[in-house]
């Protein structure tokens, strides 16, 4: 067998193993390790099944060069500008509020308990209020189970988000 065929076989085995472990870990279990495995595998499968372009050629509009310059971008930009905002969440706080920046990351306090499944909703709700956006314009794209999250803001660029957050603080 060719090396490529062995590699493909190994990849299929990894997928089969991950699928089997995911099915096993979905069983209700109070064991801490079982829950951790379930989280890891959920992130694994979410990343595998994520809809992405094959070569990831579509950058955010804020990363594209100025369209007025002679070197126009080949890739057609999206109609609405988007910006990915890194967020550091401190769960189980006394109130819900944005407290400031830490190296381009927005630090937020939320009152919901960690791991309750309500933290992500609270983060989105708080950002909607602070940035004065519609809920559909704020989307959590990474860090569903962690304290470090990445939130995609549609309709605002980096400057707009920074300005609104600075005005709120």
């Amino acid at each position: 067998m060719l090396l490529l065929e062995w590699v493909l076989l190994a990849e299929l085995l990894i997928l089969a193993l991950a699928g089997l472990l995911y099915l096993v870990s979905t069983k209700p279990d109070e064991d801490q390790d079982g829950e951790k495995l379930y989280r890891i595998l959920r992130i694994f499968w979410r990343t595998i099944l994520e809809k992405k372009s094959f070569f990831d050629l579509q950058p955010a509009v804020s990363e594209l060069p100025d369209s007025s310059s002679a070197m126009r971008p080949i890739i057609k930009p999206k109609k609405e500008s988007t910006f990915v905002l890194p967020v550091l969440v401190v769960p189980e706080s006394s109130c819900d509020q944005v407290v400031g920046f830490e190296e381009d990351t927005v630090k937020m306090l939320v009152s919901t308990p960690a791991g309750s499944g309500q933290t992500n909703k609270a983060v989105i709700q708080l950002l909607v209020e602070v940035l004065q956006l519609q809920p559909h314009q704020v989307q959590l794209i990474r860090g569903h189970y962690g304290v470090r999250k990445h939130v995609q803001i549609t309709g605002l660029n980096k400057e707009g988000v920074t300005k609104k957050l600075a005005a709120f603080l």
């Binding site: 065929e5 493909l8 694994f44 990474r142």
Partner: protein, 69 residues
């Protein structure tokens, strides 16, 4: 197609004259095209799947380390 098969076909062709070689040449060319297409598709699938798997493993490892207490 393995090296042995190719050398066997080439040996057979050496024993033949002009027009009799045509089917063997056709066989070699069609098999070559088939094999190249197979390896190209295999490489693309392995690369795409492998890249996704590596990205997923890295993402799950990173997020599990940043998990809320």
């Amino acid at each position: 197609m393995t090296g042995d098969e190719i050398s066997q076909i080439v040996d057979t062709m050496k024993k033949l004259q002009g027009p009799e070689r045509t089917p063997f040449i056709m066989l070699l060319v069609t098999r070559m095209i088939r094999d190249i297409a197979y390896y190209l598709i295999l490489a693309a699938v392995v690369w795409a799947l492998g890249r996704r798997i590596v990205m997923a493993i890295l993402a799950s490892w990173k997020e599990s380390h940043n998990a809320a207490p």
